[in-house]
Symmetry: C2
Subunit: 230 residues, 2 copies
Amino acid sequence: MHRTRVRVVQDALDANQTIARANRADFDRAAVTVVNYMGSPGAGKTSLLEQLLERWEAYQDEVRIGVLEGDIQGRTDADRIAEYHVPVAQINTGISFGGECHLDANMVRSALPELPLDEIDLLVIENVGNLVCPAEFRVGEDLRVMVAAVTEGEDKPLKYPLMFRTADLVLINKVDLLPYLDYDLEKFHAALDAVNPGVPRLLVSARTGAGVDEWGAWLRQEVAARRQVA
Amino acid sequence: MHRTRVRVVQDALDANQTIARANRADFDRAAVTVVNYMGSPGAGKTSLLEQLLERWEAYQDEVRIGVLEGDIQGRTDADRIAEYHVPVAQINTGISFGGECHLDANMVRSALPELPLDEIDLLVIENVGNLVCPAEFRVGEDLRVMVAAVTEGEDKPLKYPLMFRTADLVLINKVDLLPYLDYDLEKFHAALDAVNPGVPRLLVSARTGAGVDEWGAWLRQEVAARRQVA
């Protein structure tokens, strides 16, 4: 009995990996750098992305950006992003996929026909708000960017280690609230370094726009680095 | 093939329900009212619970409280709670249970021997920080209390409807930060009423202690109501 059960689980994991690789091949063919963009519910993912897009116009010729929004239900986030006149598609995990708490490779694959991959250089895939499950599913991304708000407390890297460990960049959001919180930034840095030593991190604020230019520069540098290799 | 697969899923769901009922029977036998306590990572669940316990001493003869802490890893939260000299046990979903993003009935059942059920009247089970998965698994609770911080934005009930819909009480936390946020409380109330019309809600602050007395009174009233029925 046990052996059968293990085999079934293995198959399911492999299916995600197989589809993630197929996505990866499509992204490579179109020369698109893909970011899996994750964080807690309410960490400020969509608001930060809006700040980024507001500043992106000057760079849109250099690096054309597109967005894929993942939510359990609704298309509020996709509608917000569409205001910035960039290609955007919405995945709802609640209708076709049984209310999943994360995006997986197959959901992303099902949305690819909605996106003009040949007309973009950078695709940001905003995952479902969740610090646990999304980290377990590759969707074919090059990079993982996560948002951790200072309002969430300093201990989160220790309590949700997988997502923090697999992040390539951590955006420390809502720093405009630091004067009103009992939050020790050094403690957060230490917790983050305990699970992902030296990972790049930026202090940002979706409210004031602080640090968003630096995030944009980091993204464009990552796209440029992949172009040189290609 | 499809029929077989449906049957397997059904069995799995039933297993949780069966064990949840066994937990429920044990709780009833010991006359313990059980709260499944949920919310996002960093919503302030543990800090609010500390504020509650700080005020509980005056009522400990009337309603004896115990706590079960669920985390992916670590026992920081259980250690924090133990400071208040109440019975506390810790479940780690990361070691024995494969890093699950929620508590299920079996995990709770495995922890029951650690708790003196006959010596408590109210058990608060703090779930893993997650707005999605915990709502799908009953653990044998009487009541669901969820924490939603104002820093998470007003739209969360619409984006994570299941948890908000199944809550018996919503604690709206971090209200001390309202002066520094662009947060429209009326918008949140409307979103909450759209998924769970009229659900009781309290404005609270884990930082200042505001509203925590009212939360304690609500809990004691729920325990008293169950005593009258029994």
